[in-house]
Each structure stands twice: as C-alpha cells, then as structure tokens.
Symmetry: C2
Subunit: 200 residues, 2 copies
C-alpha cells in the first residue's frame, strides 16, 4: 500500500444530501444540495453557523439573496426519488412549490418540508464567494424534528435514515452501522502512549 498522486480530485465524500428551501418570487422553491458543512463548533452562547454552496445561477439563490433566509431540510431514504427530482428540475422552468407539504416556521421566507424527519431555518450571516460559487453561511435560528426520530430528546440518525452523496462514483448511500464513540474510541491508545512500558 502506498499513496500515489491522482491529480487534484476532490475526495471529500460522502456528504449529507439536503434540500434547501427558499421563497423565490413569492413561491416556495427547493434545491438539492450536498456541498455544505458545519462552519463552527458553537460553544456556549455562540450561535451555530451552517454553510451551503451553490452556483449563483440557481433559481433558489435568487430567493436567498433577496430575503437572507433559507431552510435546510434533511430527507430520509424513503424520499430518495423526490430528493433527486428537485435537484434535476429547475424552478426557472418548473413550479416546485406543490412538490411537498410546507411548514412555515419562525422565518417567513424559509419554507420547510413538512414531511422531512428534520428541518432547520437559517438567517444568512455572511456570503462568501468561493470560486464561482456563493457560500451562504447561515445562523441557525430554529430546528424542527418529527418526534419519531428523537431518542432521549436527541435526533437519532439511524431513525432519520439520511441520504449520503458520493460525487466520485456517482452514488447515493445509506448510513451504516455504529462503529464507535467519539472522544472515547482513542482513550486506550492515549493511555498506552502515555505509559509505553505498560503495553503488552
């Protein structure tokens, strides 16, 4: 095994597939997005910021620019077909406002998909131009979840059953099994390296 150069190929996958919602020219519009990320760790009183990236030519971007608001809806595997659909049909030519039942939340121009297991509303805090893309960094204002996906009051990804996106082999994947616990799986190695003589 040895690493070999393969050119500047983006390998940062899988990423979570979401449906971004915005109000465009008075109507709800939806755009499938998998180029996104958590922008900070949000400790204490610092708000949580989430970033979504999209080419400015997207119809949804018009609404985000106008109102400074958007929603991030997390579809489950059961919604795979319609999730892909709203990504391949543009609001420029097709009215997508009737595709999903809509939930209105705190932000009036960030319509949410009422049938998604989880949905969030964000207010644009910063817009950063990255290459030719608009990176909208939104402050998370409100989160909504189906009670069925909560375990001990917290969102359980196994119940959400999200859709993961791979751009290299062009595939959607499901979430796999739990394999460990963060800030815990490496504890034994930490002790072992602190006291190398105690290792077998």
């Amino acid at each position: 095994m040895a690493l070999e150069p393969i050119g500047a190929v983006n390998a940062l996958y899988p990423s979570l597939t979401v449906i971004v919602g915005a109000r465009v020219r008075g109507k709800a519009n939806w755009m499938t997005v998998a180029h996104l990320g958590v922008m900070n760790h949000a400790m204490g009183n610092i708000p949580q910021y989430l970033g979504i990236s999209a080419h400015p030519s997207h119809y949804t971007n018009i609404g985000i620019r106008e109102h400074g608001e958007f929603s991030i809806n997390i579809p489950s595997r059961a919604m795979l077909e319609v999730t892909d659909y709203v990504g391949i049909v543009s609001g420029k030519t097709t009215n997508k406002s009737d595709v999903f039942p809509i939930l209105e939340g705190e932000l009036p121009n960030a319509p949410m998909i009422a049938t998604c297991p989880v949905a969030m509303q964000c207010r644009v805090a910063q817009k950063v131009i990255v290459g030719e893309h608009e990176l909208f960094i939104g402050e998370l204002v409100a989160t909504y979840a189906q009670p069925e996906v909560l375990v001990d009051g917290k969102i359980d990804l196994v119940r959400v059953d999200p859709i993961l996106f791979d751009f290299r082999q062009m595939a959607y994947h499901a979430l796999g099994e739990r394999i460990g616990k963060p800030w815990n799986a490496g504890k034994a190695l930490k002790e072992q390296r602190k006291n190398p003589q105690s290792a077998a």
Copy 2:
C-alpha cells in the same frame, strides 16, 4: 408525523471524519475534524475549494496560519482508534509527529498520512471567521490515493470505508449500502410530473 420545534439544534450530520495535517514548529501535527465541507462545485478551470473549521486555540491552527497549507487525510474504519486518539490529545502537550508514517507531497508544510486510503493537500485561499472559529478555505492542489481504493480510476467510497461522525448521539458510523444514482433517481418522477395524465 408532524415537525415540532426542538430549539436551534444543529442537525447537519453525519459528516465525514478526517485528520487534518499541518507543520507546526517544524513538526507534523494532526487534528481530527468533522466540521468541514465542499465549498464549490469546481466546474471547468475553477479550482476546487474545501473548507475546514477549527477553534483558533487548536495547536494545528498555528501551523496552518504560519504556512498557509494543510492536508486533509481520510482515514478508514480500520484506523478508528488512532483517528479518535489524535482528536483527544493536543499537540500542545504531546508530540504526535510519530503517530503515522508521513508522506511529503507537493506542498512542503502539508504532511500527509501515508497509511490513509486518500489524502489531499490544500493551500489556504481564504480565512473566514465564523463565530469564534477559523474557517480555512483551501484550494485543492494535489490528491493521493492507494491504488487499492480506485475503481475505474476513481475513488470508491466502499473501498475507502470512511468514518462518519454524529455529534447528536455521539457516535461514529460506517458508510451504508448504495441506494441510488444522483441525477437519475428522480428521472421517472420528472417525466411523470411533466405528463401527469400518463401516470397510473
């Protein structure tokens, strides 16, 4: 089923778990990161930009700020213990430069983990302050992969066997099975909605 408000809880998980590498005070250092994302779509001649977020107090940030370079290494499930380990032990108190065999690539201050299935080198193009965090947006300069994880010359996530991070239930997950094809899974629905009278 109905969405109910649960407060401003970040639900943008799972995210890919990576190990960021940098040269700090002359030595390679490693930091586990799962708050990251693809920052643009990179069409044509536009470079690909990848973003990683970390609190400025992290030891690795010192090296990234000084040299403007970092690596993004994608560990496999087989590396779970050591991946978690380099996330719970700081370079401030522990020399981590001997934890992995190192591959030097095009960028001299972005050491890579030679045993990861995939590694990338990035040059910082923009730094954005988000809340209290530093978001380093790097231009992807070079990618390296183990030939064993390539299928038809392209990275195959099933072979990479990546570690996915969930901050809500505090769990690492494996990648699940393929469930569909992007820009394809929604085609039938597109046709059906174009010609509603042809639907059963």
